[in-house]
Symmetry: C4
């Protein structure tokens, strides 16, 4: 079984989860000119989550590019992974609504737990495909496979640290989430054209 | 006519129906930290329905992999099948909202009826394609086709039993729905890599 | 330019418009068991519009199967056609909400105008592609092309009649909309496997 | 890495952003027959934004048709571009709600800023791909590439002018947004079949 249809379904979930984020940006009450400035956390949350989902999509892309076939268990692991991706709009909404008020900690924790779980599941998915070359292409380069493994491993730890930071300061935690997304953007800009 | 575009449309509906489930997880009123724990049925309902839709998607995948062409009637049966898939978010919402309160029975029944109808329609779709090899690939193995037929037949009965259980206890019914989804996950984990 | 990407975008809009219809089915107020029966117009409206969009999707499928290339104007006509498809959830909501109360006429008219415009635009799209074989495949059979032209031409008139019926009775109009969808289902069942 | 999956994800976001626009068209309060006429700005806003997204999709189509490969930075630029596309439903909603009342200026500005940023990002994306032929197909015609560059450059300036017009009159600004969309439709109709 080829990974083509896996891509179609996955790209669909990625695209919808990212696009649904706009439903979290809602019209402010009161005068519109001040209100539109006042809801800036909504814009930041929208941008951070959109870019984060986009970066995960790019990485998913790279995983699928290395595999030649999928099996039932891989499809299922992928479904559970996508379940976490599609969940991201909910904590994004919470974080945007509560970052400057009560409930900031619970919101920051929910965002961090979701992203940490997503990063863990991403590693599970890749490890399952790569271990012993189970689902890899015949001509997958050992160097590239090792490189991918190395580049994904830190993800869960980075998000875990940002999550735990919410216990000290939810705002710090939110800055870290934004920083992680920004890091991925800058990394691509500075080191350029690696795919 | 090749089944390619059937897949594109079907994968779209599967992906959107699954991703829209997140709209059922809504911010709780009251303090956020307690509220987020209090709405646990929303999370369970989200996970169960997402995995259920994911498993049906995997099975749909397997059906389409066996067929070489589609005809107008098959397309229409598929549309009606997708109509049931896209309906799933509604009873999922009802079940999450009402499982611990009044209305639990009506919610559990609506969930069960939807899933039973989906399972029946899935069998109709497969039977139409497979009967006399109507739409099958030339080289479709008789053994595989029989195996698929056998593995899909119990679906309607299993969901019917879980639906009827709602007449005794809606909570039992909900546990059965979750159990069916969990069974599919475990089955894939234990028996592994069959696709 | 090949019509592949046209299909991807079109299938996306078809799938999303159909799946968004479920957002029109909302939890009833009051006791759930009676309420779920009481909102039966929502279910009918959901089913009729889903099947209608599905049938239009099948027909769009058949058009694209006949064409070899697309030009900028065809893409634009297709965008305007999809704009009407994506509009369908709105009058569907109106019809489901108002069919048994005041506002039934306005709702039935809005549904009919939308579907009539969609049917007209579908013919415009097909005529543009087919006239003088402008965008058709080299080997498109003249007989098939004529058959398609003939089968699409009545669409606008049928929907126009059902729309005008709303001036006499909105309920009659709604029955006609459902009847048209049912006709397409039965036609495929009775005359079977033509694609 | 081929641009296929980039297309799948992009087409998904385009299709969803366009289709979500219908959620901005909401049932009016009061008698339905008058109400449905009264919300005409919703219909216009829906049509203008749908066609605008459709035209950008067609242009995106033309860019991808010229490129042979994508790199990580291009994927990221594309993600940020899509982030702006997916944002369009929000200012569309604001414009439809406020064009005839207070807040019209803020709404028209937010719409214009979004579209100007989208047009800038589109040029950044194309320049990155085209500069020195970085990602272009071997056989990309220099004349076509220059033509594309020339046709995209005015976009940001046109939208900037329409945005600044909102400082004088938000209604004028809205008319200009509609005029730009209409221009693209007419241009394709008059000069016809260029793709």
């Amino acid at each position: 079984m080829s990974p083509n249809r896996l891509e179609a379904f996955s790209d669909g979930v990625f695209a919808i989860a990212a696009t649904l984020l706009i439903l979290n940006v809602v019209e402010p009450s009161g005068p519109l000119d001040q209100g539109l400035l006042h809801i800036w956390p909504s814009y930041v949350a929208y941008a951070v989550s959109f870019v984060t989902i986009g970066v995960i999509w790019i990485n998913h892309h790279m995983v699928v590019a290395q595999i030649a076939r999928v099996d039932r268990l891989f499809l299922l692991v992928n479904v559970i992974f996508l379940m976490l991706i599609a969940f991201i709009p909910f904590p994004t909404h919470l974080l945007a609504e509560h970052i400057t008020s009560e409930g900031a900690q619970a919101a920051a924790l929910s965002y961090g737990i979701t992203l940490t779980a997503t990063a863990i599941m991403f590693n599970v998915m890749w490890q399952y495909a790569a271990q012993g070359g189970r689902l890899l292409r015949e001509n997958a380069s050992a160097r590239v496979v090792k490189g991918i493994t190395r580049s994904y491993l830190p993800g869960p730890f980075i998000y875990l640290v940002a999550t735990i930071a919410a216990l000290v300061s939810p705002q710090l935690s939110a800055v870290l989430y934004a920083g992680i997304a920004l890091f991925y953007v800058l990394e691509s800009s500075v080191f350029g054209g690696r795919a």
